[in-house]
């Protein structure tokens, strides 16, 4: 059974529910409640990430972003979500109906499952499985199926080209993501996410502990992470200037919203993995406020926000790469670099050259 750590409100709910339901029913109800809470929180968070991106883009481009709907445009994406929900679900005549309708669910489901393993604070974690990082990479690989099926099932040449490009890109960069995370696991000795944070609480953040290989691993991870989520400078999949809109050309309304939201939640996931593994998760710098438990999620969100800011800066500054340049970068440069980095880190751990206090 799942191991749901108890926090004060969860204790009250647990006690109240076990008052009038048998044990299994209590567990199932609690699972449903947590799922609904996550869904609600992250749907709204995804919407606000979109608004944040629009505001940052406007700031870089010397203009104001959305500022009509609510103060500073706060209700803009809610208005957009309402619009998307009420749109007509179009589709092409010759599209493969089953595949076309099935495709949008894969990325969003994969993203939401992957969200469940993150520790937001010492006792706020939905699923503390002991193969944490392995589970994460495995589940986020499911999302690519949705892209391929969506592109093929749309019966549109442009969508097919976009889907093929995306498929090959995501599959290639998963290697780099996995290997750079593996480099950090060498320092902690455990795949479980809460264990990783324990190691960082006693010894300092992992990026400081394994200095040179960890910094190299972080840079490789950022590059591969932006490529995984099909964001610029690797966004030739949805290159608006070349192909219209790539694999989600033929989708409209709620199905398009699934693809769109899945991209932003993926960005959140990549940033959250980076904070957990490299920057200490919910720990505060130098351990100043570790005891105060309601500050811990605040530190987590702040670090994730900074890394998301970095990813957004990439998008609005750099031009995009061509597909053969993307693949050359991965297979000829990042992968050998990654493998050498692992060896370097292993040697450093064996000789005890890591910095820790």
């Amino acid at each position: 059974m799942m191991n749901i750590p108890l926090l004060l409100p969860t204790e009250w709910v647990h006690k109240w529910l076990s008052g009038f339901m048998p044990e299994t029913a209590v567990s199932i109800t609690e699972m449903v409640l947590i799922a609904v809470a996550y869904l609600a929180f992250f749907a709204v968070a995804g919407l606000y990430l979109v608004l944040l991106e629009r505001k940052i883009a406007a700031w870089i481009q010397l203009r104001l972003g959305p500022n009509r709907v609510g103060f500073w445009g706060i209700f803009q994406t809610i208005a957009d979500a309402l619009k998307l929900v009420s749109k007509e679900l179009t589709g092409t005549v010759k599209a493969d109906k089953f595949l076309y309708n099935l495709a949008p669910y894969f990325p969003i489901v994969a993203a939401l499952i992957a969200l469940s393993v993150f520790p937001f604070s010492k006792s706020l974690q939905a699923y503390n499985i002991n193969i944490g990082i392995f589970f994460l990479t495995a589940v986020s690989s499911i999302g690519v199926i949705g892209i391929l099926i969506g592109g093929y099932g749309s019966n549109n040449k442009y969508a097919l080209i976009g889907a093929m490009r995306s498929g090959v890109q995501v599959i290639s960069y998963e290697l780099s993501v996995g290997l750079s995370l593996l480099t950090m696991v060498l320092l902690t000795g455990s795949l479980q996410l809460s264990e990783i944070i324990e190691t960082q609480r006693t010894g300092g953040w992992l990026i400081v502990q394994g200095h040179i290989p960890a910094i190299i691993a972080f840079m490789i991870y950022m590059i591969a992470g932006t490529a995984e989520t099909n964001r610029a400078p690797f966004d030739l999949v949805e290159a608006e200037s070349e192909l219209g809109a790539g694999y989600h050309t033929e989708y409209s309304g709620m199905k398009f919203a699934y693809f769109f939201l899945a991209e932003f939640i993926n960005m959140f996931i990549i940033a959250a993995i980076a904070t957990t593994v490299f920057f200490g998760g919910w720990l505060s710098p130098f351990g100043i406020t570790d005891g105060i438990f309601w500050l811990q999620p605040f530190w987590f969100i702040l670090k994730v926000f900074l890394i998301i800011l970095l990813m957004m800066f990439f998008r609005w500054t750099y031009p995009r790469l061509r597909i053969d340049q993307v693949l050359t970068l991965e297979w000829k440069y990042l992968l050998p670099l990654n493998l050498m980095n692992i060896v370097l880190m292993a040697i450093m751990v064996w000789l005890g050259f890591t910095i820790s206090w």
Binding site: K157, Y158, P319
Partner: protein, 374 residues
């Protein structure tokens, strides 16, 4: 026999024809390209024109000479002043009118401002095509300053009908000189910023170097002109070969690069902006006094004969060929547009490269489709 089955070759491949259609974010205007591709490699590019054909040449046969001037600035709307100047110069040379010095200098200054405006728009859109979406806004911010200067003097921001045969339509606004000087000072701080943002970027360079190579012999054979030809080593600046207006009394360099790839064409245009700034600086302080136009008859009739006038627009050589038989309407007018010849080189450059390269090539060719279709 019925037992005989014809088995198709299981590895037979067919060509995949894609339409980069008239409405498309990357083609600047309504240009339809039929691409035959094999995976990602392009086999053939065939342009399909005519979506914005407005029969300007036929209309010129029924209009008077003053009315033709106003049709030309809709052709290549980004260098509209230069287009107007071409027809006005043709008519003035045919009638052998000598315009005052003031007119020549003002025409040259506004020519160069138009060229800078066209090149900043090209730079902004080029970044946007390649994925750096911010450059669009930076380019337009500077173009707005030039448009404001034009609006004060000529009355319009895009299609400025400021030239007439015989001079200018009205005199320049009193603020013109000061605002142009302020603009030149402001723009000199911005051009190095643009260089830093786009030219030095390694991703950008890798997408442009070696892409769309046009050798010098091919460039001459395809009849290209303007920055496309100068990027391939053909020295074809009309301002130097057949000078007109005040270009024979300013000093400026003609930019030549030899490689012929997209990066060379890009560099030619960036350096041309610097040269335009230096031309404006040489002329802006000494605008001679005098009349702003020479009075012509109300009904202009050119003598019998053929007249050819060429100017250097931001895209290349625009030629105006007027065949007149003495009446008040021309018998035939032909506009030799630079985009038409530049487009014919696209198929030759694009065979064997990828779709992403095609977008980069079209961005450096700087096609404006109303210019091609007329």
């Amino acid at each position: 026999m019925a037992q005989e089955t014809i088995v198709k070759d299981p590895f037979k491949t067919e060509e995949y024809m894609i339409n980069m259609g008239p409405q498309h974010p990357a083609t600047h205007g309504v240009l339809r390209l039929l691409l035959t591709i094999d995976g990602e490699i392009i086999k053939k590019v065939e342009p399909d024109l005519g979506f914005i054909h407005r029969s300007i040449e036929k209309m010129c046969e029924r209009d008077s000479y003053q009315q033709i001037v106003h049709l030309t600035d809709r052709m290549d709307y980004l260098s509209s002043h230069i287009n107007n100047e071409a027809v006005c110069l043709a008519v003035e040379n045919a009638l052998e009118i000598e315009v005052p010095d003031r007119v020549k200098v003002i025409r040259t200054i506004i020519d160069e401002l138009t060229r800078i405006a066209s090149h900043t728009l090209w730079w902004g859109v080029m970044g946007m095509d390649l994925g750096a979406l911010t450059t669009y806004f930076y380019g337009f911010r500077d173009r707005e300053l030039i448009n404001d200067i034009f609006e004060e003097t000529c009355g319009a921001r895009l299609t400025m009908n400021y030239n007439i045969p015989g001079g200018l339509m009205f005199d320049i606004h009193p603020n013109f000189v000061q605002r142009t000087k302020d603009f030149v000072k402001h723009f000199k701080t911005k051009l190095p910023e643009y260089d830093q943002l786009l030219t030095g970027n390694i991703i950008f360079q890798k997408r442009m170097k070696g892409v769309g190579v046009l050798t010098k012999e091919d460039a001459i054979s395809f009849g290209v002109s303007g920055p496309v030809a100068r990027g391939s080593g053909v020295a074809s600046d009309i301002r130097k070969i057949h000078p007109y207006s005040a270009f024979d009394r300013v000093e400026f360099n003609e930019i030549l690069f030899t490689e012929g790839d997209s990066f060379a064409r890009y560099n030619v245009r960036i350096k041309e902006m610097w040269e335009s700034l230096s031309i404006i600086e040489q002329l802006i302080d000494n605008i001679p006094e005098g009349d702003y136009k020479v009075p012509t008859k109300a009904v202009i009739k050119l003598p019998k004969g053929e007249f050819y006038q060429r100017v250097e627009t931001a895209r290349g050589e625009l030629g105006v060929y007027i065949y007149s038989d003495g009446k008040k309407n021309p018998y035939r007018v032909k506009f030799r547009s630079p985009g038409f010849s530049n487009l014919s080189a696209l198929n030759h450059m694009a065979v064997g490269s990828k779709i992403g390269d095609l977008v980069a090539m079209m961005a450096t060719l700087d096609l404006v489709v109303p210019d091609i279709d007329r």
